[in-house]
Symmetry: C2
């Protein structure tokens, strides 16, 4: 995919569109505690110069370094909830970001209590060369708009308040040359309309929809851990290009344990993926007792064939539909 | 050494003495931040059924698991100071100890502010199945007595309040059969005198020194990081069997940097080891920029020949002098 994009860039073709790429890396796949062979579950995403990290457990900064990605440009950090395996790597990560000379503000998104929890942990990382801006989630579903993309937080069902996240990149329709010509509007206004601006002139008002086609399919990555299956997850994951979902247990006899601790089995995750009609699902957040999650691959693929038993450091570049090879 | 001890045990010879063994493991050798190939500096020691951990940075629990040692029996946790690289692994470690079903109390020793710092970090690990007992260090030098050994904390010179630690196992003199016989005391009192008890009978008072020889050389492990060199460190490390000391920089031109950040170079550590007349020194707490500390081995051994450039997971069993092979 990268080559195709480079080729188009070299040809000067559709340059602006071609750089629309969402780079994601599942830094770890563990739940509960970090292990010598498995980092804790955490997702890093890079889009158009912005870096996003969802959850930061003990060792996440090491996993990031191992992958060769840098903490310096982390702009937005989201937390699903405040259990240690999802946030205890925060003080070290903040210090490492500071040591990497990050000076731009860091936006943090998380359930209620965000600033209280972060400030408590910062007892061992009090001095940072950048500002932290807190955005606490107060609704069951809440959308946070950024330059060119949205983060959608949605409440899930764990034993503490916990949220899943969608990283959403919307895609406008194509510019309709014929419609624009038919309007009789001076050509110099076209790009402003294309960017979403409404143009008011003496002869009338021109809105973007007058020259643009219907919105096209964008990109959506859904991230969900820790939770029991819920309708809200299915709704939010609908048609995701990639659904990253917890699978705490692969063993078929652990459903009761999953219920007790408010986690999910592989099969419950797969049933949701199927119902949400996602393009594919990566399982993650394995129990430390689950040493060979791939053993259950066939069983879970029988429910949803596009299930992958993710491993630490899996990464992918997501492109708009018509840019894929 | 282990074989020799086993042999003696099998022969039933000097059983009580033979089990005197101090097991230590340097879990990591890094400073500042954990790296994919280097855990943060932390020392685990096991003695006579008691486990001690000095410092607990991000990833220390993984290093411990990698080594095959268990967090379940950690009885005493000491902190040199509250910079993140020495304590940020605490919440995860506490939870893992809880998950391993530890129920006995955990003693914590550290500079002033101990309970405040630990309670702040416990915002992400609020529920534990064991009690924490805090022992704050209030003096420049302070000794904490435990069953059969002592922990000596001594103030060092860093940019925040920081302490080094000695793990000290004293060793009584040998029982002097001839002196005991000459006393004319009933043989049934001998073992009580040997254990340190004073016996008062109608015919007089008997003190342990009447039957015991002069104290013999015990064991001492000195642990020091982060600090500039000080007279106090030299005094406290005197004649240590093992001196584990920070060497943040190996490059000869980094002395000024060491001074600025209140750390030590390899050569400063070696000069202290020589003056303290320790049996050997392990360097640790390397700067992330120091990727090949072993490059400076010869230069530092020119100052103190028994210097070792320690690596993650180095361990050693220390025995009393006459039990060594």
């Amino acid at each position: 995919m990268k080559n195709q994009r480079m080729m188009r860039l070299l040809c000067g073709e559709s340059e602006k569109e071609a750089i629309i790429i969402l780079d994601i890396c599942l830094l770890g796949t563990g739940g509960m505690m970090p292990l010598p062979y498995r980092w804790l579950t955490s997702l890093m995403a890079r889009y158009n110069g912005t870096s996003i990290l969802i959850d930061c457990g003990e060792g996440t900064q090491i996993a990031m370094k191992e992958k060769g990605w840098s903490p310096k440009p982390i702009d937005i950090m989201c937390f699903t909830h405040y259990h240690a395996d999802h946030i205890s790597g925060l003080p070290g990560m903040l210090l490492t970001m500071g040591n990497a000379e990050k000076t731009t503000p860091l936006v943090m998104i998380g359930p209620k209590g965000l600033s209280r929890v972060v400030n408590a942990l910062r007892v061992v990382a009090p001095e940072l060369p950048f500002e932290i801006r807190y955005m606490e989630i107060t609704e069951t579903e809440q959308s946070f708009a950024f330059e060119g993309f949205r983060l959608e937080a949605f409440r899930v069902n764990h034993n503490v308040v916990c949220y899943g996240y969608n990283i959403v990149i919307d895609r406008k329709g194509k510019f309709q040359l014929e419609k624009a010509m038919a309007l009789g509007l001076d050509r110099k206004y076209w790009s402003r309309l294309q960017k979403g601006e409404t143009i008011t002139l003496a002869e009338g008002t021109y809105t973007p929809d007058m020259v643009m086609g219907a919105p096209r399919k964008g990109l959506k990555v859904t991230y969900c851990t820790d939770s029991r299956p819920t309708e809200g997850i299915i709704k939010n994951a609908r048609n995701a290009d990639l659904f990253i979902c917890e699978g705490m247990y692969g063993e078929p006899d652990k459903k009761e344990k999953a219920k007790e601790y408010k986690h999910m089995t592989f099969y419950e995750a797969a049933a949701m993926a199927k119902e949400a009609d996602v393009a594919k699902m990566w399982l993650t957040h394995y129990s430390p007792s689950l040493t060979r999650p791939e053993e259950y691959k066939k069983d879970v693929q029988a429910i949803f064939p596009q299930t992958y038993i993710a491993k630490d450091g899996w990464s992918e570049e997501l492109l708009f539909e018509d840019e894929q090879e």
